[in-house]
């Protein structure tokens, strides 16, 4: 018996085998359907528009933002400037993605630098505060 025959035999008794053999049992066939509602609960033709309350990036060819967008993690600092520059380049140009990748690395460095700065500021301040506190608590002669 060939492997192919053996496998078919092993699976023939299972409820799994061939359950969706008929094309009518396949939800994605055809992949592109005639126009129809995706779900019965869609109750708009054009969705309402979300209003931006901060700077949101968008690709160059869009006149306005899509009806729904994310306002999370807006572009900031040097990496933000690079990202805004990248979104002025059409995404059909490799420069667009290369600039975004560069911005990602700069973003990481910016955050590392900010963390170091925080430590560099907080550690001396904390040490000074501790020294003052200890000096105050020590009994004076």
């Amino acid at each position: 018996m060939t492997d192919r025959q053996r496998q078919r035999l092993e699976h023939a008794g299972e409820p799994v085998y061939g359950a969706d053999l008929s094309r009518s049992e396949r939800p994605g066939v055809p992949m592109e359907t005639e126009p129809r509602s995706l779900t019965p609960t869609v109750h708009w033709t054009d969705p309402e528009r979300q209003r931006p309350d901060r700077r949101v990036t968008k690709r160059r060819e869009l006149q306005q933002l899509t009806p729904v967008f994310s306002s999370a993690n807006p572009p900031r600092g040097l990496s933000g400037a690079l990202r805004r520059a990248a979104y002025r380049i059409p995404e059909t140009h490799p420069r667009h993605f290369l600039t975004l990748m560069l911005a990602d690395r700069v973003d990481v460095l910016e955050h590392r630098f900010a963390r170091l700065l925080k430590i560099a500021t907080l550690v001396p301040l904390g040490t000074a505060a501790a020294v003052v506190l200890v000096a105050k608590l020590l009994p004076r002669r």
Binding site: D3, R4, Q7, R8, H11, P15, V16, Y17, G18, A19, D20, L21, R26, P27, G28, M31, E32, E34, P35, R36, S37, L38, T39, T41, V42, H43, W44, T45, D46, P47, E48, Q50, T57, K58, R59, E61, T66, P67, V68, F69, S70, S71, A72, N73, P75, S79, R83, A86, E91, P94, H96, F97, L100, M101, A103, D104, D107, V108, E110, H111
Partner: protein, 381 residues
């Protein structure tokens, strides 16, 4: 709230961030009950997806309970348990009404290549993901599906992505009954592709990978033959031989941009970044499949380009089919398969972690340690 946040390539941490809010009338806010880590999250973790911003939260496979409801939401109320497709789709644009909800043009202002998705960089809209205590879900009347009362969250968790994705991968192979199918990748999507290939009536299913414990899992879970490509001289010739010298009728790429198996592709794609990741599995699919056969690509690749032997595909008369999964249209159908016992989706979960241990879960999953097939986070554990 607490959420996983991206810090740098190969580094994530769990920290506090602002709670999500209703930003559009058709939003809901969910309290996340389960959030899985997907193989494609590893591409983000490894810094391979452009515009992955520090502080962003990953996670596009999740279930939750509705906590807040926007004023125009009609189909959900506070307290409903839902499973959410990874795609964010408006339900009414040119693509959504044609069933192509993965290609929605109303949810991603940053790119025309992809529709909106949860937790997958600003390239797919910059939406925060579900590996957090709470998450904002836009177009709540379109995507989320209520979880039946008699089913638990883990029964249906994978309807959010990997089960429909695996099913669509097999479906794009256009199996008509009795075909030989080779699936590259024994990860969760590969496993569900194999299960789906049987559902569609495949005659023989072979799964290819290089991780032995995953191949063993595939044999047990999906009843397939397996091949470890690192243990054969030439994987292309080996697979062709398995199928009478011609090759299988269908090949599926369920691996994507971080494939093992080609030093050249890894050097060019993952180290030198000359191409967007290592694309050797697409090349293998094209080489292995028989003339006139179908190649289905469901593994994730990033822009802008990859080295692919398109001339071979042309000369062999192949059909190449691909897309991100249009998850919403598969959910009711696959729910029926789960309910009727044809697919035990949660059986692939090998590890569960509280949210605080998410970095450890990523490390385990990324390094394929401890027999890990699928990790699930429990944010409110």
């Amino acid at each position: 709230m607490r959420a996983l946040t991206y810090q740098a390539p190969y580094k994530v941490k769990v920290g506090r961030k602002k709670d999500p809010e209703i930003e559009h009338p058709n939003d809901v806010v969910l309290r996340v009950t389960r959030a899985a880590i997907c193989g494609s999250d590893l591409h983000l973790l490894h810094g391979l997806v452009p515009d992955t911003r520090v502080g962003s939260t990953f996670g596009h496979e999740f279930t939750g309970v509705v906590e807040e409801v926007g004023p125009s939401v009609r189909s959900l109320v506070k307290g409903d348990r839902v499973v959410v497709p990874f795609n964010i789709s408006c339900g009414s644009c040119f693509y959504c009404v044609r069933g192509l909800s993965a290609n929605c043009e109303n949810t991603n202002p940053n790119s025309d290549v992809a529709g909106g998705a949860f937790g997958y960089s600003h390239l797919t809209g910059g939406y925060e993901g579900g590996q957090a205590e709470y998450v904002r879900v836009p177009f709540a009347d379109v995507g989320p599906m209520k979880i039946p009362d008699d089913m638990d969250d883990e029964d249906v968790l994978f309807l959010s992505d990997i089960l429909p994705t695996g099913y669509q991968a097999a479906e794009m192979g256009e199996i008509k009954g009795g075909e030989g199918v080779v699936i590259f990748g024994a990860g969760p999507v590969g496993l569900f592709t194999a299960k789906s290939a049987w559902l569609l009536g495949a005659g023989r299913v072979v799964v290819v990978d290089h991780v032995d414990y995953r191949l063993e899992f595939a044999r047990r879970y999906a009843g397939v033959e397996t091949v470890n490509f690192k243990r054969v001289d030439d994987i292309v010739l080996y697979l062709k031989d398995m199928f009478g010298g011609r090759g299988p009728d269908v090949c599926v790429d369920a691996v994507g941009m971080e494939a093992e198996g080609s030093r050249a592709h890894r050097a060019l794609g993952l180290h030198a970044k000359v191409e967007a990741g290592a694309a050797n599995v697409i090349a293998w699919c094209i080489e292995v499949v028989r003339k006139g056969g179908n190649v289905s690509v469901i593994g994730v690749y990033g822009p802008p380009w990859n080295i692919v032997p398109i001339g071979t595909a042309m000369n062999k008369g192949l059909t190449l089919r691909m897309n991100q999964c249009n998850v919403r249209r598969y959910m009711p159908h696959l729910l029926k398969h789960i309910r009727e016992g044809r697919i035990d989706a949660k059986k692939i979960i090998t590890h569960r972690f509280p949210l605080s241990e998410a970095p450890k879960a990523y490390e385990l999953f990324s390094d394929k340690k401890d027999g890990c097939v699928k990790c699930v986070l429990v944010p409110h554990a």
